[in-house]
Amino acid sequence: MTEQELIRGLTSGNREAVKSLVETYQKKVIKTAYYYLGDMEEAEDTAQEVFLEIIRSAGKFRGSSALSTWIYRITVNRSLNAAKKKKRRQIFVRMEKMLGMAKATEMATTGELLHENGEVSGEESFAWLRAALAGLPENQRKVFIMSKYDEMSYREISEVTGFSISAIESLIHRAKMNLLKKFSSHGPTQTNA
């Protein structure tokens, strides 16, 4: 199915078009959502919302950018919204921790699960990395994930975000510095590579 056929099918509620949309883009959408949320189940839920929005808004797609770029933009926005909601939930977890009610797994999602000697094991470094990414300012996180996780070129990032190339370079540099600072303060020795 070509992009135009897909859009026409989605606009008219064609079931085959919906199936084609999901089959073609599901892996990319779920993985992108996962990079923002750090949880595959939440990434699937977010992916479902992304596809629903694409189906509802298909009639508004004007073709000024590639369909994949449009879908990616929706995915990033939805993932960021879901990540914000998740952060608000984590604030409640922190409050529970202060009251001595938080569970260890919940503490891990806030990046606070460290061994007593300050070392971070392989699986836990995922949690640490996710927490460190979640702590970045939104634009830095967005651009860093696009560059390092989605392996997009600066030009592609510029097309999605509307930022200039120099702004993108600056954001990536600042994101790196912030992540390294967090890495250092958590005691960085890796026990499982």
Partner: protein, 112 residues
């Protein structure tokens, strides 16, 4: 942080990123998403009927009831008019002193 240490830290960071990137979605995730999408879209379709449809049905129902009352009333009026006419005929007959029994006497018609 000296540059060597920074580079070492960043290498570790990149290794962690590569491990995260290697995580793949469940192979059945797409099927699950499609099923949930279809049930949500079907639920939307059954709810989203045009707003004018129930209004039109109500209006037609009211119109049918009104028409029924009207037709029924017309019948009553005609019956009342008929009854009225029949009464007038009776009065006229009484005035002519026409005897029913006389009507039935066939000898009246005989010239003998």
């Amino acid at each position: 942080m000296d540059q060597h240490k920074q580079m070492h830290k960043y290498s570790e960071l990149e290794r962690a990123i590569e491990r995260e990137k290697a995580v793949e979605p469940d192979p059945f995730a797409g099927t699950r998403i499609l099923q949930r999408l279809e049930s949500r879209l079907n639920a939307r379709r059954s709810i989203s009927q045009p707003a004018w449809r129930p209004v039109l049905i109500s209006v037609l129902f009211l119109a049918a009831m009104t028409a029924g009352f009207f037709v029924g009333n017309q019948g009553k009026i005609r019956k009342a008019a008929y009854t009225d006419m029949a009464t007038q005929i009776e009065i006229l007959r009484t005035g002519f002193y026409v005897n029913d029994f006389v009507d039935e006497d066939i000898n009246l018609l005989s010239n003998e």
